[in-house]
């Protein structure tokens, strides 16, 4: 996926800004939704996540989240873990976890009717 050293810094910098706006906007929406539907929130909550539009938006936002989290964790490891072998293991672990979380979200959303 990465074939050039030259653009990666710019790409990651831009990706962090764009993904943060998507995730932040979504988080604010969820907060407002929860506050607006107190105290009986189960039905509206369930209906919200039964909608296909919401499922798709949630997945797009979550993919943004995992990209954002990946860049963040990569930065942290690059700053503090100088031993390449250890860092490689940690980065692989984080990548697997993030991808696994995405698959879990698919299951959560598609088992909601």
């Amino acid at each position: 996926m990465v074939t050039s050293k030259n653009r990666r810094g710019l790409r990651d910098w831009l990706a962090q800004r764009i993904t943060s706006v998507l995730v932040g906007g979504y988080a604010i929406f969820i907060c407002v939704f929860i506050l607006m539907h107190q105290p009986d929130i189960y039905q509206p909550w369930h209906d919200l996540f039964s909608s296909l539009v919401m499922k798709i938006i949630t997945l797009i936002v979550f993919i943004s989240l995992i990209w954002h989290a990946w860049i963040g964790m990569w930065t942290v490891f690059t700053d503090y873990v100088k031993r390449v072998a250890v860092r490689a293991v940690l980065e692989t672990l984080v990548a697997i976890l993030l991808f696994g979380y995405l698959l879990w979200l698919f299951e959560i959303l598609w088992s909601t009717h």
Partner: protein, 125 residues
């Protein structure tokens, strides 16, 4: 090989400006959020499966201290990360890049985050 030079980097002896504190907390809150993603997915899952499951989750959060703390930590970390992230992006656009503005915006982030954390604590307890 060069001779070993002395390193003077005792972090406990530094006095850090507020902007530095915001920056490191932004990083720390980010890592915390990464670690707590599974908790968020777990809560989403079990609040959607059925009414009984939803009620069970509500009970878990109100009864079990560890669960309540976990949710409070996640939401507090998210609030701080979001607020300091917004400050970050505002500075990217060129606003408030002087040291003085940076110090004031850092204090603002602390104030807003503290309000958010307290409100979250009230909501959860």
């Amino acid at each position: 090989m060069q001779a070993e030079r002395p390193i003077n980097l005792d972090l406990t002896k530094f006095r850090f400006p507020p902007m530095a504190i915001v920056s490191i907390l932004h990083r720390v809150s980010g890592v915390i959020l990464f670690l707590l993603i599974p908790l968020m997915l777990y809560l989403l899952h079990h609040t959607l499966v059925s009414v009984t499951s939803f009620t069970a989750i509500q009970e878990q959060v109100s009864v079990h201290l560890l669960m309540k703390l976990g949710v409070w930590l996640t939401l507090s970390a998210a609030a701080f990360h979001l607020l300091s992230g917004i400050r970050h992006i505002i500075m990217d656009f060129g606003f408030g890049e002087t040291a003085r503005a940076g110090r004031y915006s850092a204090y603002l982030v602390f104030a807003l985050a503290l309000v958010a954390v307290i409100l979250l604590g009230i909501w959860l307890w």
